[in-house]
Symmetry: none
Subunit: 219 residues, 4 copies
DNA sequence: CATGAATGAGAGTTCATTCAT
DNA sequence: AATGAATGAACTCTCATTCAT
């Protein structure tokens, strides 16, 4: 009786706090699956276990829901990511590896991995969100990778490459993998096995970057 | 039957023949820009310079239009691509390079470069199209790259790698570039300059694949 | 029981008594401004400084609120008006003038002046209220004016006219003025100056009613 | 056969021309009856014998429909009215009488007689329409009455009165009658008999305006 | 063949009403 | 007594689809 009572009481209040993120999570899932336009608010509400009208207690419109979903989820992971960066290795080669692997584990492999798919699909329809995403998210991410790359070049561990372009080349397979997992994977699950794909990825790109013979960072 | 008859209404005849592909081209452009659901048939018709009803003379439904757009355009380029393959180098290193560069020039850089974006966005909504695309297009493309890669490995020019996974890693930056050109490019045109991106790409991946020192295939 | 008790929560007690009429006043104001259908209960509650749910402690529904607003406010003024009538002049000419002017001052010029506008707008949607208003309010008002008019005719002060029709003609400019003040006045405040309008009104209608030369009742 | 054929053929074209005014007429009727907010577009469409979507072929939104209904109907009658004015008497007394009676016959007694009711009810919700109506319709109407009144005063036929205020007083009973016919009439048909009301009206106001004894214009 | 007016099912959004707190 | 989070029916508006011309 006591335990039951203790958890049953503050129902309204607790939900009030939790609702927006529950709704956003449900919405993100559907936006990733079906795209923005094809997602009906009925479905979002049903998946979150509320009625359609409840969505409008927390979001002004479908468009506002979309923006909130992208920005709120992204900002949460950004701060988490920056905290992680501080704890990373000083060795540039390990550093770059940990950054790329960290991106995969923190973003690519989680439900946030669907956001790149959504942003790719909706960039034209939501230019403001796309601009925000490009400037506040992608650019910052690229800067982190670029600084690791530059550090390695300075110390003679990486070959001299065009840093900005190479950063994009390095990120592309990771982003592609997370996009693929959220779109074509249903057709071809074999093509989306990170445990096979990632080693091959690290193998090629580190061999492609390093100056000397195999440095032993590859697993 | 006579000359007269054959040329009586050349414009009319030609247009009649050309209509479906004109419509498909207009539709593809809009599907790439806005996505399937957000594209109105009004717009497709307007862009093609016909009335909305005319679309239904050539396509049974919006869905049928979508499928036709993907399949027709893709099949056209597939046969063209296979013809090209026959004329390629026998040297595996050059061969791989020509395949990847050929993909870019024939697909990535043209309006077909939007198709990967569309397929990524709509895979969940059109599983049959996605399956077709995966099996008849992607798999065949991968097979071509894989055979070049295997040839190079057999001849000791490429390192021994996991071929299927590495094929995907190799394709990812190219697909990513073509996707990016059709979505985020409006926000960040600087990030989509193939003339900068492609050399950095070839630099890293060929250095990452080759066994010996630089073979000189990189421009 | 003691003084202490009686005054223990004076604010609370007084508010509890005052609530329904505060709510009704807020509702009337909004019904007059925007009409019944366009008035949201949120707004009524906000204007009265309570929550939306509180409205339902005092009124069963929006419709019940509407009826209460009309009937309560109207009945209050009806009894007040009848008290006033007893104190009026015996001279039919002055009597009629005081009735008409009294209507303006007691109703037309106050917030009750909005009720005719609301009743006009909502008569079709609330036929019962309209019937009540017509029978219990308008008819009684007309009867008062009619008896003054008949008295004047009997005494040879007013010309012989069709009494029921003339009563309506006499009331029309007054009602029109109070309606106008609550609708078009925002566009054209100059058209709603009672200090100009009322003298012109009394000038024309008394000159139109009186048998002899100017009797001097006009200011 | 021939007659049938002659009228049956151009169905689409003829409707295309006629539709907007059919729709506007249906909409006006309902706006007058129930008010803007309480009128559902379903009903408008049903009354006009079309589907809901058809409304949107001719009007961008419910609001646009409202504006069009007011403005189109009003403008049509304004030009008609101005044509009539040219043909009126030169005698100021008859002129004024014909103007007032003409207003009744052309506007008050027709379906346009509902427009004052609607404008009164919706002035707050559609301030732009109210401004238009006030400036382009009411003011012009007042100017016509004012000029007849001034003419009569100049020629010594009417007493010297405050012209602008008296114009409003003169119009008020007419407008009130048309408003009443469209709102309270259902409750009290006896109060809305123009054949009784109008003579009493003309009796009082002309007696109220004229300088001398009865001039004989009153029927 | 081609048109475009017409349709109506379905989507986003609002708001009177309820009820656990 | 008072709150305000939640509901869902009802509304406005959209757009794929049809069909008479």
């Amino acid at each position: 009786m006591s335990e039951q009572h203790a958890t049953a009481r503050p129902r309204h209040r607790r939900r009030k706090q939790a609702r927006p993120s529950e709704l956003a999570a449900a919405a993100l899932g559907l936006f990733v699956e079906k795209g923005y336009a094809a997602t009906r608010l009925d479905e979002v509400a049903a998946r979150a276990g509320v009625s359609k009208g409840t969505l409008y207690l927390y979001f002004d419109s479908k468009e506002a829901l979309f923006k909130a979903v992208i920005q709120d989820r992204v900002e949460a992971v950004m701060s988490e990511g920056e905290a992680l960066l501080a704890s990373l290795q000083d060795d540039p080669v390990r550093l770059l590896r940990e950054i790329l692997m960290g991106w995969w584990e923190l973003i690519g492999a989680t439900d946030l991995g669907g956001i790149p798919k959504v942003m790719i699909a909706e960039a034209h329809n939501f230019p403001e969100v796309a601009r925000y995403f490009n400037e506040d998210v992608i650019s910052r991410g690229r800067a982190v990778v670029a600084s690791a790359l530059r550090l390695g070049i300075e110390r003679g561990l990486f070959r001299v490459v065009d840093v900005p372009a190479t950063v994009q080349v390095l990120m592309a397979p990771l982003i592609m993998l997370s996009v693929w997992r959220n779109s074509m994977a249903v057709c071809d699950p074999a093509a989306c096995r990170p445990e096979v794909y990632l080693p091959a990825y690290f193998d090629v790109v580190f061999k492609g970057l390093l100056t000397g013979p195999d440095s032993g960072v590859l697993p």
